[in-house]
Amino acid sequence: MGDSSQVGLVIEAESLVKVYRQGGVRAVDGLNLRVRRGEIYAFIGANGSGKTTAINMMTGALAPTSGIIRVLGVEQPRNRHEVASLIGVAPQEYSLYQDLTVDENLEFFAGLNGVEQGLLGERAGELLDILNLRGRRRTPVSELSGGMKRRVSIACALIHDPEIVFFDEATVGVDPVLRQFFWGYFRSLAERGVTIVVTSHVMDEAERADRIGLMRAGRLIEEGTPSELKQRHGVNTVEEVFLKLSGGVTVDG
């Protein structure tokens, strides 16, 4: 792992561009980004603003068209296997094996990430307690509600105790109480030194992040802590900052 991890940078993107072959859409257009260890960083933007594309390049699931992306000092996606077990991802879709039980999904993804069998039970039990899924361990995922699937997806992202976690729209379809709980949990992870990158188009969520990156048309149009942004634009909420910057265009969702 290069010098960057020593100075606390776990994600570095330079002039990152992604143009999709099909349709030629420029989904990410010159993204520069630095995320520090233990930080909660929130990408905020409308649907189609390039948040998921940016996350996919960080996780190594998608190759950039140009530019460089390093995660934990390792260039993605070329050397992604070196750091893959240090990264946890909860994609936008649930991304779970519907026919398998909660436990089986956890066991499968833990196995792929090299979690020792002895540690698995303890780790799974702990996560399922925190995420209030203890009673569902033997239930096939297909029989769970949307909110429960979301929690299982988060558990699968965390089962191997990763250093960086990416939550792509982790709180979509989650009720306000649970959302509150998620953010509390994210905060406790960050305090343990886990870096968390989330995407959201729910603005009040962004207020809870350490730093916010506002994305529009594949570009980072504004970045800073919630209070910095509000101060800079002389408004009271992050949502107002967003509305101001997008020229009054509202965000759906």
Partner: protein
């Protein structure tokens, strides 16, 4: 694709099945020495009825006649090179002549015939019978039939089970493999796998192993239903049959992993299986022997895995073949598996392809 598929299938079936059964390879040995007949006082005529019969057979479109010794023909039938061996006896002309003169002698032609293809067997016997009757008025003319493979005479079900097994392993293995692999994309699990340390090749191996187990279960069920409910016989070794089915299923699992690259959604995945399996069925010899296909289609038929699969499954189940007789076909299937493995390994993806 929805419009192209039925069109492609129909064209292939139409071309493949347009001809009747023809060019069935048989071997004929004419031992007939001819006969000098006294037609009247001082008048003798010479008859060469055996040669006439051989000529009539050669002129029959349904057959492709090779001449040689009957023993070679019998070996050839046993090895699957010919469907029948025909022997015209030395006294054929004499007996036929005397029969025509009203004497009570039988005129017998020996035919050693492969009974594992009832339609072909019927065509051959029909052709020999017709040719024989073209020489005389029919009475007392006999075809003495000996069935190959220990006198095995098979029912329609017996002879179709090997092909059904081949077809099930082609169609269902492709279909289910394509759907399962496609579900990784549809469910989003593939995207999560792309972020784990799992390499693309490891993922490929995972698919192959899991789908192979499924393929073996399917062929086991086909065999079980055949044996238990329909008393289908397996003349050869069960072990060899199992190994062959394993190899054949492997070939199609690998093909499916490769083809999964071309299916963008479940609908396309579901259509890819029949687009491969139905033409395979038409070209494999399952419906008409490959020899009977139009000349320009025959080379294509030899590229179809099911052609070799059918030969192997028929060989083991109906003819009692061992590894020796089947090594060539098994080698071709292995070669195809190797080609599909290379194609699959070359195209398996380690990240989102966009």
């Amino acid at each position: 694709m929805m419009i192209a598929m039925p069109a492609i299938v129909m064209v292939i079936f139409g071309l493949a099945l347009s001809g009747e059964v023809k060019n069935i390879p048989i071997l004929v040995q004419n031992l007939d020495v001819g006969y000098e007949a006294q037609a009247g006082p001082g008048v003798s005529i010479s008859v060469e009825s055996g040669a006439d019969l051989a000529e009539a057979l050669q002129g029959d479109d349904s057959l492709r006649v090779v001449t040689g010794s009957y023993e070679d023909g019998v070996t050839g039938v046993d090895d699957g090179d010919y469907f029948a061996a025909v022997r015209i006896p030395a006294d054929f002309s004499e007996r036929l002549y005397r029969r025509m003169r009203g004497e009570d002698v039988d005129v017998v032609v020996d035919v050693y015939v492969d009974g594992t293809k009832p339609a072909i067997r019927a065509s051959i016997l029909g052709a020999v019978g017709d040719s024989l009757r073209s020489l005389g008025d029919g009475g007392g003319l006999e075809v003495a039939q000996v069935l190959a493979f220990g006198g095995a005479e098979y029912s329609g079900l017996d002879v179709s089970i090997p092909s059904v097994m081949g077809f099930v392993l082609t169609f269902l293995v492709l279909l289910i493999s394509l759907i399962i692999i496609n579900r990784e994309t549809a469910m989003g699990t593939l995207q999560r796998l792309y972020t784990t340390p799992l390499t693309a090749f490891e993922r490929l191996l995972g698919y192959v192993i899991a789908l192979l187990v499924l393929g073996m279960m399917m062929s086991g069920v086909v065999l079980l239903v055949g044996v238990v409910f329909f008393q289908v016989t397996v003349r050869g070794s069960f072990t060899l049959l199992f190994i062959s089915a394993f190899l054949y299923a492997l070939t199609h699992v690998l093909l499916a992993v490769f083809l999964s690259n071309f299916a963008r959604n479940e609908l396309q995945a579901v259509q890819l299986a029949p687009i491969i399996a139905l033409p395979s069925m038409a070209l494999s010899g399952m419906l008409v022997p490959v020899n009977s296909l139009p000349d320009y289609i025959q080379p294509i038929a030899r590229l179809v895995p099911l052609y070799y699969g059918n030969r192997v499954f028929e060989g083991v189940m109906l003819k009692g073949y061992g590894v020796g007789e089947l090594s060539g076909d098994l080698l071709v299937i292995s070669g195809m598996a190797a080609v599909f493995l290379i194609l699959a390994a070359m195209t398996v993806k380690d990240r989102i392809d966009a």
